[in-house]
Assembly symmetry: C2
Homo-oligomer: 420 residues x 2
């Protein structure tokens, strides 16, 4: 087989461990120099391919690539940029193939979520049509854990750990102050339309008296009356109430709580997320003193408290993608297959991109307690292994030592500009 280059790109929202997948791809490719001469990484994701702005990963030392294992964010730059359908946007696909051809790129590793898997699949298809077949593989990544087929997604375990740890810690704070101060604490977490991250907050407690007392999932239509009744019950029974709310929490009619129609004095839609909306309901109807936190990017970048399981799996899917590509597979994605819950065992399998693309996996009803405000034992069995283990980055002078790339550009070969 001829020796070719590979193109690697990060896509969509980044995670605490997406760079571990990059390390998996690059280190594995380096072990097969006879097949993969170099890995070029897209600067700012797929945009780097379209604009022929690629980073030469061969210019990075082995130590730098290894340090990606503990560096959060997207080291090469990621992009929220969706290639549309081939018919609508043939120009972009053709451009990708043009750049790939110019740089002798025969492998495409796309590290992202549902949309990216759709793109990788289309690139595989169109490349054949255009007479330059590219081996296109997906590398799964999303904090939302909403990819189908795979048991879980790299990126999720770490945000789950962050949310579980933070909920537990903040709950101790609130509990110790509840007698004379804050009684209700609301923590807003990510997850889009899926309640996986919110569910992870549930790991913070075990008994009904433990925080969080209420989880608001996107999968359970929000019932204000039942919610407020539960808050009141918790405060009366336990002296405090901790609520984890998903940014995607919504009413029966599908409207998000965060778009509850409240406007500021200038008529602007109320800013910010769902936490202040929920906190405001509590204040208005029950009058309890409250605090709220919006974890936002802190949760998905918190490499300092990453899950060791997650780091391992993020690396493994990157590594497996390269191995699959070298074994002649294309249009597939490595998926994590759970072998057993306890002891937790998993292995890597492959799934066709067509089964992954554009599908969302919601929290199944069996993971949500019958009252809709908590998680079940089945959910705990699923979630617990994913947050298992600590994998601290090195620290220097009190701060994590995260790596910075040289990020040397690959010499351009085309004379054409391409505007994205």
């Amino acid at each position: 087989m001829p020796k070719m280059n590979a193109f690697y790109a990060q896509s969509g929202g980044v995670t605490a461990v997406i760079n571990a997948s990059a390390a998996g791809v690059i280190e594995t490719a380096r072990k097969h120099k006879n097949r993969i001469a170099n890995v070029y990484a897209g600067r700012n994701g797929i945009i780097g391919a379209l604009t022929e702005d690629m980073i030469d990963t061969n210019k990075e030392s082995a130590a730098t690539i290894a340090a990606l294992m503990h560096t959060p964010g997207g080291a090469f730059g990621s992009a929220r940029y969706k290639l549309k359908g081939i018919e609508e946007n043939r120009r972009e696909y053709e451009r990708l193939i043009e750049v790939f051809r110019a740089h002798n790129i025969g492998y495409f590793f796309y590290n992202g979520g549902n949309d990216s898997m759709d793109t990788a699949h289309k690139v595989s298809l169109i490349s054949k049509k255009l007479g330059y077949p590219v081996t296109a593989l997906g590398v799964p990544k999303t904090v939302d854990n909403d990819l189908p087929v795979t048991d879980n997604c790299p990126g999720f375990g770490s945000v789950a750990k962050y949310v579980a740890v933070s909920t537990k810690e903040a709950a101790l704070d609130v509990l110790s102050m509840a007698k004379t101060s804050t009684k209700v604490f609301v923590l807003e977490v990510m997850g889009r339309h899926a309640g996986w991250i919110a569910a992870a907050g549930g790991l913070a407690g075990r008994k009904s008296a433990d925080a969080p007392h209420i989880i608001l999932f996107p999968e359970v239509p929000f019932n204000k009356k039942a919610f407020l009744a539960r808050v009141k019950e918790c405060v009366e029974r336990y002296e405090y109430c901790v609520i984890v709310v998903s940014e995607g929490a919504r009413y029966e009619n599908g409207k998000f709580l965060a778009e509850a129609g409240t406007r500021d004095a200038f008529g602007h839609a109320q800013l910010g997320g769902v936490a202040p909306v929920v906190a405001n309901m509590v204040r208005e109807k029950l009058g309890y003193k409250y605090h709220y936190a919006v974890a936002d990017y802190l949760q998905r970048s918190a490499r300092h408290i990453a899950s060791a399981t997650d780091v391992k799996q993020a690396y493994a899917v990157g590594q497996a993608a390269v191995k699959m590509a070298l074994a002649g597979e294309t249009s597939v994605m490595p998926v994590i297959k759970r072998v057993s819950d306890s002891p937790y065992r998993w292995k890597i399998e492959k799934a066709p991109l067509s089964r992954i693309a554009n599908k969302e996996k919601m929290l199944p009803p069996r993971y949500i307690s019958s009252d809709g405000f908590g998680i079940t034992e089945a959910a705990r069995r699923y979630l617990q292994p994913l947050i298992h283990g600590e994998d601290y980055p090195p620290f220097i002078k009190g701060l994590p030592k995260y790596v910075e790339l040289k990020a040397v550009a690959v010499k351009r070969k085309l004379n054409t500009e391409f505007v994205v």
Copy 2:
């Protein structure tokens, strides 16, 4: 000297390391059983003394007390409850002394901030007048770092570390997405009227291109025009802008940004903090995509990323308070005296409570850069040692193993109820 009991209480907002001070008090007292028979802890702080609801710390094992070293929150319960002036509220002081007398309590260790030092001082004074002299010592604690005399306050180093680490991590996330997504990220931090915590965010970067690009301190009157100009400059120059804003940021006229007069559709003052207010300004005037995080209690309870320096100092002030009491001191507080910046050396000295009580220490002008948006080298020299070192709690099944007390109540001796 007669053998007496000690009373220990936590006061005000808790921290990630206030329990380490408790461990310092209790373990040191246990080494002097001939002088201090038992340490009784107030359940919910000083309220526990007033209502004769005290926890018998002798019922807790040595392992439990040692585990307080790595457990956040206030293990005995804290209270926001200020004893007013003696003349206004003689009843409460008399009640305290009544309870102390009934339980043979000769030592009072009050673990708190400015207000608490005032209370401890008054207790010392009035106890003599009432013919039952109590040895009253302060044990410093506040995340706000605003106590005078002491070089820094236990509790601050850990929140400073959390804020510096989180700023650094979130900045990597934003930077990697900035090309096509969020360009401005706002992190709201605590600190009340003092900018110490916000300043700690400045440790995340060193060069002007590094995040945070803007810090908004309570000590620097907010100038909207200058702020927006700087945001624009950062986005144009670096492609992104990270802002750390103190909850206490305010306008020239003293009005808090968070009380900017915006109201929701129902006429309620806009909820939540200053981060959405600042983010909204950016959106309105510059139109950049933004995100914001409100760290709230997460920052002060994050024992998982506590500063090792802070944990040591928190223990040391608890230990020193007991030693000072046994040496016959009263109405004093152990303070941290910095001997050198680098290598960082410190020792414990003592200061009279009258010098601490009701005073706030603001961030000095020499720690704020001339443009008002950053920190100086002097600030770095001061702050850096305080976040130095990691002191991870033990983990079990992916979560920190925090200790829970038996919290056995001391048998009541008085037949009187006291309503607080």
